[in-house]
Amino acid sequence: MSAAAAAVTPTVRRGKGAQVRIQRFGAFLTGMIMPNLPAFLAWGLITSFFIAAGWTPNGIIGGFANADASSWQGAATALAKAADGTTFHQYLGLVGPMVTYLLPLLIANAGGRIVYGARGAVVASIATVGVIVGSTVPMFLGAMIVGPLAAWIMKQVDRIWADKIRPGFEMLVDMFSAGIVGATLSIGAFFGIAPIVTHVSSWLGTIVNWLANHQLMPIMSIIVEPAKVLFLNNAIGNGVLVPLGAQQVTQQGKSLLFLVEANPGPGFGILLAYTLLGVGVARSSAPGAIIIQFFGGIHEVYFPFVLMKPTLIVAAILGGATGVATNVVFGSGLRGPAAPGSIIAVLAATPRGSFVGVILSVVLSATVSFLVAAVILRASRARDLAAGESGDLSAAIAQTEANKGKASDSLAHLAAVNDLAGARGAQATMVATKPIHSIVFACDGGMGSSAMGASILRDKLKKAGLPDVKVEFKAVAQLQDGADIAISQRELTDRARHQAPSSRHVSVDNFLSSPVYDDVVAEAKAAAGSPS
């Protein structure tokens, strides 16, 4: 409980800037990963069913069958080498292209969109193709860096000639500048960023190799778990642990190295914690993800859950280390690699005599990661609830500030706020005592809805005797920071927050008749009348 209280109570002033920055960064990661959760699940489902080791293997969809020997013609293929050294046309299938291209591009797109709207999303995607094809390592880390960075660069470039373009040429300049910047960045990412990520990946492998050779097994989890959630699991699993494990099997008949990365326990614990203590979409999709992860062995489906709340990596590391330590104590291991890492494949690869250790390693690692994840989720739950399903925390931060020194009340208060928000379509409560000087409406185009909302509120303020409150409207992409309150349609509030982080944000479902207007008017009136 003290952890929860600490998270809600504002810390001392000097720690606050950092705290807010960390929370913003967390919100940013969530915004980048969360909208793409369905794609992760889709890929997880296809993979767990159709790969060679899946439930219903299918060489065409799974991408392992010889197309020359199949009657299904016309699908995309690539040359592959058979065991006897000859080459044949192998189906590309859905599994490889989705994880190589689709998922990183979607992440880059969402990240770019947060930074700079639709334009940022497009440039981010273009640049990320460079980092994907510039390496053979899966480019999740690359996409998470290159996507937002590319969008940010586009934003800076646009600033150079903002307002300097002859009327009528804006579209032309916009299209070509984004095309040129995108093309340049994709080449830059290809040669500049992709090799770095490749190096990081092989460097991590070297460390794991060293740890394995020095009997420091449980410490490996510190490297393996973070690498996993960045999709470097196969690079480390198949590239380092499996060859080392195979070596040990020839000597001892089993190896625990096969279980370091393939143990489904840590991911299961995290997903279980989300199922019980998560909020919104993350909570409701966690149970399905458990089936794909634990029984299907496609660990990747839990990665986004960690990526959007990076502190959960602690749960994965401690869970993983517990599993490894258990196997060390019991001297247990697997006969061969468990691929995919489902509980079924793990048990199938367990030699007689190792069952107790292996099963305990899964159970204990799941328990530890569940408990740690539960504490972490519990601590931030009130904030996440207040921020709504988007997981954006700025609203919650404002709330925290408003509740200074009333930590004991704040949890209950936040829950009440959430009920209110759900019922009325407002995300923030009206508790501020700060005078309100300016309100800005944001909509997509900046010529219709926001203008109408602004007229209505202006009218209401005038009738309430507050003609001095400035009410403006803007396209969300042009929104500037600084207004006291920013009002936007629910689906645009996240973008509005990123454009204007210091404003208090209020969502409306209906610009014409929102109860929010009366709240704002009442608040402005109260604030104007109060001495502070």
């Binding site: 009528g168 007229s455 009218d459 689906e491």
Partner: protein, 146 residues
């Protein structure tokens, strides 16, 4: 300066039956009066897929995106009332469609009149009950905009 909302840009009843038809119908009025190029109508339809312009109170206000402002020659509004509600989204009946082509600020005073009318349930009822285009036009114009 030309009026932004002229009498011939108020139509009742409109002929569209679906959301897409209604956007096209409003767009066609704006094209016919020379306010926008046909490309703007495509932008209106496209934007509607991104973010709905359903406003509540039986009103929708289709318009282009920020990027499509290049296709606007001058600001204009059109207003179409339908006898049968058009399903704009699930549970979003629309009787009045206001097509907007806005550059600069000329369209804002009339738009704010529309907003004030539609934020008042009694006024909305009067708009729905108005006898024809002429009466509709007068209803909107007589509002004392803020």
């Amino acid at each position: 300066m030309t009026e932004v909302l002229t009498r011939d840009l108020v139509v009742a009843p409109g002929s569209a039956r679906t959301k897409d038809e209604a956007i096209r119908e409003a767009g066609a009025l704006l094209v016919d009066c020379g306010a926008v190029t046909p490309a703007y109508v495509d932008a209106m339809a496209e934007r509607e897929h991104l973010v709905s312009t359903y406003m509540g109170s039986y009103l929708a206000i289709p318009h282009g995106t920020d990027e499509s402002k290049g296709h606007i020659r001058r600001s204009a509004l059109c207003l179409i009332r339908y006898d049968a509600p058009i399903e704009w989204g699930i549970g979003q009946p629309v009787r009045v469609v206001v097509g907007i082509a806005g550059v600069g600020e000329e369209h804002l005073s009339i738009l704010s009149k529309v907003a004030l009318v539609f934020s008042n349930p009694d006024e909305v009822q009067r708009v729905l009950d108005a006898a024809g285009p002429g009466e509709l036009y007068d209803l909107i114009q007589q509002v004392n905009a803020a």
